[in-house]
């Protein structure tokens, strides 16, 4: 490691690298369960869910708010978990795909996605479903065209879009929408 030792002495990034920074206490309710956590400020909600809490249903597709795979509900509103620092969410309620429904106790959207084959590889699916749940709660979409536009924040490379719209329309119908 002579190389490393050599570079250690005159590296301007060194002070930056080792500067001590404390953690921040954060209270979150995740899928109904209260959690008291001490977090470094730069941990995103997405990484906290996936790595810290092993809730890997929320997917990382781009990590930059450009695909929607990490969509979760924060206080009932759909957002990209990758763009939220977890410390900023103190006191918030977070619902992920795991909280929406489980095997044997599927949420209507989960069942409709299966019925309409609204996914192939399944990677964007939890985000699509959480986004659809957020969309229904928002109440701004009533037609297929409006669903298309308001679901456009969820990319699907397998191209299941038409089936996703069918699934959402079906669930909206069940709930007296459309």
């Amino acid at each position: 490691m002579s190389q490393a030792a050599l570079s250690l002495s005159n590296d301007p990034g060194l002070a930056l690298a080792s500067r001590p920074i404390g953690t921040v206490p954060v209270r979150l309710t995740i899928n109904g369960e209260a959690q008291a956590l001490d977090l470094e400020p730069w941990v995103t909600l997405l990484d906290l869910l996936r790595e810290g809490l092993h809730l890997t249903g929320t997917k990382k597709g781009c990590d930059h708010g450009q695909c929607g795979s990490c969509t979760v509900l924060i206080d009932g509103t759909r957002m990209n978990a990758c763009l939220k620092l977890a410390v900023t969410l103190d006191g918030c309620e977070i619902t992920t795909i795991e909280g929406l429904g489980q095997p044997g106790n599927l949420h209507p959207l989960q069942a409709a996605f299966i019925e309409h084959d609204a996914f192939q590889c399944g990677y964007c699916t939890p985000g699509q479903i959480c986004s659809a749940e957020g969309l229904i709660r928002e109440g701004h979409a009533h037609t297929r065209e409006e669903i298309r536009e308001q679901m456009s924040g969820n990319l699907c490379r397998c191209g299941a879009y038409t089936n996703i719209a069918d699934a959402i329309l079906e669930v909206m119908g069940q709930e007296g929408w459309e």
Partner: protein
């Protein structure tokens, strides 16, 4: 992502104290800053989380306008009944931007302070004067498809990516800011700047200053308006060119008109002299063409974005027609009205 100290002030005074100094970033919705942190473009040593400050409401102003809290979300603003009824141009522009998820998180103050999408600005492996003063601009002579055709400098050809800001420019909004030097109000036209020799400065905000609200003036253009956005796909893409038109007709003539362009410059692009050409005129392609030419006077492509010049001209004409006819562009039905 750099490591930073985190502060979560609960009142404005505390926020300004925390926000003083170099290498500090205010964090609200996070949709742009967290992205930039991950790209190592933003490298603050302290992040001040202002999301808990009481700047969230949307209120009527004494003058008959509307005050949009800096921390009201884009979604709250777009669907606010007063905004929809009185300032449908703003609602439309907001709904043309980003996605439902992003609008749910993004705030009004954050929206107008978002940074350019220039490929080079975002890629720290390439030189960029906006990111690192003095490095040079790799976009000039590079992949310039999304870059500016107006108001560029030899240092920077970036565009401002906001849709909301384009509408605010057309509405002649005012930006209310507070800071170490006290409160001030900035006319929207003066809020964003051209790159010039200081491309790292997007706005005229001073260090430590914070946007508290955006004021919409009483004149709201509820009938004759449009926000027309052309992009690479039909949703979830930044504008190649967008046009906001706010118009008031009196009889057969245009009594008042504003035209603002997005995607073509470092700031929402307006030229009052182009609008002057239309005031008092009967609407029509000839008059619209003269105004478009005046608005685009001096427009010049960088090679990869040469198409934006004719695209902008055609989009201006169409947008003026949409506004005149009272048939604004739908942000859902993708057919261009």
């Amino acid at each position: 992502m750099i490591r930073f100290d985190y502060a979560r002030p609960t009142d404005l005074a505390e926020a300004l104290r925390e926000g003083a100094g170099e290498e500090v970033a205010y964090l609200a919705g996070g949709t742009n800053l967290v992205d930039l942190l991950k790209e190592n473009v933003a490298r603050p040593t302290r992040v001040v989380d202002i999301a808990r400050l009481p700047l969230t409401g949307i209120e009527d102003t004494a003058q008959g306008g509307l005050r949009l809290g800096a921390l009201a979300t884009n979604t709250e603003t777009a669907y606010d009944q007063r905004v929809q009824a009185r300032y449908p141009l703003l609602s439309s522009a907001l709904l043309a931007g980003a996605t439902a998820q992003l609008r749910n998180a993004a705030t009004n103050g954050g929206n107008i302070n978002q940074r350019t999408r220039c490929y080079y600005f975002y890629d720290v492996a390439t030189p960029c004067n906006k990111r690192e003063p003095g490095q040079g601009c790799a976009a000039i002579g590079g992949v310039s498809r999304i870059h500016a055709i107006l108001g560029t400098s030899h240092q920077c050809i970036a565009t401002h990516p906001s849709d909301m800001a384009v509408a605010l420019a057309a509405l002649k909004a005012e930006v209310r800011v507070t800071g170490p030097g006290g409160d001030r109000v900035i006319a929207f036209a003066d809020y964003h700047r051209l790159p010039g020799d200081e491309p790292w400065r997007d706005t005229t905000l001073e260090p430590g200053e914070l946007v508290t609200a955006i004021d919409l003036p009483p004149e709201s253009f509820p009938t004759n308006f449009t926000y027309l956005k052309l992009r690479e796909r039909l949703s979830y893409a930044f504008a190649l060119v967008s046009v906001a038109v706010a118009m008031r007709l009196e009889g057969e003539r245009i009594a008042e008109v504003r035209i603002a362009l997005g995607g073509v410059a470092h700031k929402p692009w307006r030229r009052p002299e182009a609008e002057d050409l239309l005031r008092g005129q009967e609407p029509g392609r000839e008059a619209f063409g003269a105004a478009a030419d005046a608005l685009l006077e001096g427009a010049r492509g960088q090679g990869g974005n040469d198409f934006k010049v004719p695209m902008a001209r055609k989009a201006i004409l169409r947008a003026l027609e949409q506004a005149t006819a009272g048939t604004p562009q739908s942000q859902t039905d993708k057919r261009i009205a």
